[in-house]
């Protein structure tokens, strides 16, 4: 087990700067999810930690030692790849034994490690099979087994669930998290799926263009996003953003109406403000009982939830999500109600969150 510290990490591909300068602290036993849109550098960062990509400058410390120049093996990490990367010509047992054999471990040690890992992951009946004789979920489990037998101080996961179907993905999500709770090994997990990030992480690190936009506990990021990017990236459906002009404590949304209460940024605060509201914080009301009026455009019902997309007079869309089945139909006039305390405010110019 080990903590991982990245300071001033920089990565270039030729002349293109992928990661300008990145600092990140990951505590011992923590489950950290790196999340961001494709091309944000999250996989590159993981591969740099793994030792598969050289680091141009900065320090990468694992368990207090600088490991920039160590080989992947010497870093004592284990990695689970997106496509599992199981050796197709080896059985499950041989796949798991590969690293131990290379390390010249004796048979009893190898059997012991494999026995323990296959017991944890329920792989015992599959040990003599080849990867192609396994289902997607089983392969995923073998890939984790191969990581566990090495007894690593850090687990690295590179989008491990993206090749699985939706149902299996939910199941494996739980399995990976409970595996972590059992083994308590520092884990760094890369995904582009914010639901995975929200449900699994102790700490989420939101990346964009090689920079950390915000890092923290999932619910902190969800309820107090540092900027517009994080606000819209986390949460599904994504946060509604309404550009407004502030006049004292009143927010003028132009032809859509006015909002008031909830926040007062005084005389010195910015005038151009973007008001954010999560779909789950909106309530549909009769049109005459709300300040904001809209027309229902689309109604999506999942059974547990009703997601309503409305059009404001300005043509802007607002999404509202309500539990259960709500009796509303496309074309109806509705009013949008929300608790002023649940609104988020951002400086439209810089995109940064404003403390209400």
């Amino acid at each position: 087990m080990a903590e991982v510290r990245l300071s001033n990490i920089r990565k270039l591909y030729g002349k293109i700067e992928i990661i300008p300068s990145l600092d990140l602290d990951i505590d011992d036993g923590e489950f950290v999810v790196l999340v961001g849109p494709s091309g944000c550098g999250k996989s590159t960062l993981l591969r740099m930690i793994a030792g598969l990509e050289p680091i141009n400058s900065g320090d990468l410390m694992i368990a207090g030692a600088r490991v920039n120049d160590l080989s992947p093996k010497e870093r004592n990490i284990a990695m689970v790849f997106q496509n599992y990367a199981l050796y197709p010509h080896m059985t499950v047992r041989e796949n798991m034994a590969f690293s131990l054999r290379l390390a010249k471990a004796d048979k009893a040690t190898i059997d012991g490690h494999i026995g323990r890992a296959s017991e944890i992951l329920g792989l015992a009946p599959l040990l003599e099979r080849l990867p192609r004789q396994l289902s997607g979920g089983q392969r995923q489990r073998v890939a984790m087994g191969r990581a566990i037998v090495r007894d690593p101080s850090v687990f690295l996961f590179d989008e491990p669930l993206s090749n699985l179907d939706a149902k299996l993905r939910v199941q494996m999500r739980t399995e990976i998290r409970s595996l972590h709770d059992r083994l308590k090994v520092t884990t760094i997990y890369v995904t582009h799926d914010q639901i995975e990030a929200m449900t699994m992480a102790d700490k989420i690190v939101v990346l964009r263009e090689g920079c950390v936009e915000q890092a923290g506990r999932p619910m902190d990021l969800y309820s107090r996003p540092a900027n517009l990017f994080v606000a819209t990236f986390l949460g599904s459906p994504e946060m509604n953003l309404l550009p407004a002009t502030r006049d004292a404590a009143e927010f003028d949304l132009g032809e859509d109406g006015k909002l008031s209460g909830g926040a007062d940024f005084g005389e010195t605060g910015p005038r151009d403000i973007t008001v954010g509201v999560r779909p789950h914080d909106i309530m549909l009301k009769p049109a005459d009982q709300a300040k904001l009026k809209a027309t229902v455009a689309v109604v999506e019902r999942t059974g547990a939830e009703t997601v309503v997309t409305c059009t404001l007079p300005s043509g802007r869309h607002v999404c509202a999500a309500m539990p259960g089945q709500v009796a509303v139909n496309a074309g109806e006039q509705v009013g949008l109600g929300f608790n002023p305390l649940q609104l988020h405010y951002f400086d439209t110019g810089s995109g940064k969150a404003l403390a209400a």
């Binding site: 793994a50 030792g51 598969l52 080989s71 992947p72 093996k73 990490i77 284990a78 990695m79 790849f81 997106q82 496509n83 990367a85 199981l86 050796y87 197709p88 010509h89 590969f98 690293s99 290379l102 390390a103 191969r146 090495r150």
Partner: protein
């Protein structure tokens, strides 16, 4: 899902089958028929049963040619496999001026076989050839391949490898490209050295490709003719003949079609025997797949 082929299935396939029948099956049975008869230019066929085969078996030159073929084919095929594998690995790991290097490696395939052999012949000419003169100056002595069957056949082998390297190289190169790079990364993380990654990941996954390349090349090499014919004409004293040259001599110089046809069939059987080891191995690996 497997379903019994219908009449229409056979009809769709029939043009191909008719073509194969016309250019492959009928001629080979005609050659079989020829091998059981005695004939030459301008005469009809006279049934002799297995006499032609007996004659061929009793002919010391045939055994000499068979032995030469066996040694040259085996030498050529394995040397070529190793060289092509090394080159392909080098290319996959990255070479400077890749496009140019690629063109250099593929060039022999673009040159007419006869032209290539004649160019080699000139360059290896003991008195004026660039390569042979250079080798002599470097102290390797005079390589008189027209007088020594061993040196002659070695040169034949070298030319054959040079001419067919692009084929084996391309087969292995594409086989290497098909191996998922994440396997190497996983092995790297598992602690495998470069050499271990080659022996434990690359080689086992490349076996099917290597087998196919071997089978093709064994069969191609077995028919080797132009190199020997243009360089030594089988000389001195028929010592460097290979089976195809033996066949050609009997068929078109001595006009003994029966003997030539019998030799042809022996070559088919011989090359199948040589390739059968690898065919069996491939079938086994496919059954496991």
């Amino acid at each position: 899902m497997y379903s019994r082929p219908r009449l229409t299935t056979w009809l769709y396939l029939s043009p191909l089958h008719l073509l194969l029948l016309a250019v492959l099956t009928l001629p080979s049975f005609y050659v079989l028929w020829l091998s059981l008869n005695q004939s030459t230019y301008g005469t009809g066929l006279t049934w002799v049963g297995l006499d032609n085969y007996r004659t061929v078996f009793a002919d010391g030159y045939f055994w000499r040619a068979a032995l030469n073929t066996f040694f040259v084919v085996n030498g050529v095929v394995y040397v070529e496999l190793v060289v092509a594998l090394a080159l392909a690995v080098l290319f996959v790991s990255g070479v400077p001026l890749r496009g140019l290097m690629f063109a250099c490696i593929l060039m022999p395939y673009a040159i007419s076989e006869v032209v290539a052999v004649l160019v080699w012949k000139m360059m290896m000419d003991p008195s004026i050839g660039t390569i042979s003169r250079t080798l002599e100056l470097m102290g390797f002595g005079l390589l008189n391949w027209s007088a020594s069957p061993t040196i002659g056949l070695t040169l034949v082998g070298v030319i054959n490898v040079w001419m067919n390297l692009p084929f084996t190289f391309l087969m292995i190169y594409s086989g290497l490209l098909a191996i998922d790079t994440s396997l190497y990364e996983a092995a790297h993380i598992d602690g495998a050295t470069r050499w271990q990654r080659f022996t434990r990941i690359t080689l086992p996954l490349l076996v099917p490709t290597l087998l196919i390349a071997l089978i093709f090349r064994l069969i191609f090499a077995f028919r080797m003719f132009s190199e020997v014919w243009l360089l030594t004409k089988g000389g001195p004293a028929r010592m460097s003949e290979v089976l195809a040259v033996y066949l050609y001599e009997h068929g078109f110089r001595y006009g003994d079609f029966g003997i030539a046809a019998a030799t042809g069939w022996m070559m088919v059987v011989g090359s199948l025997l040589l390739a059968s080891v690898f065919l069996l191995a491939m079938q086994r690996s496919m059954r496991g797949a």
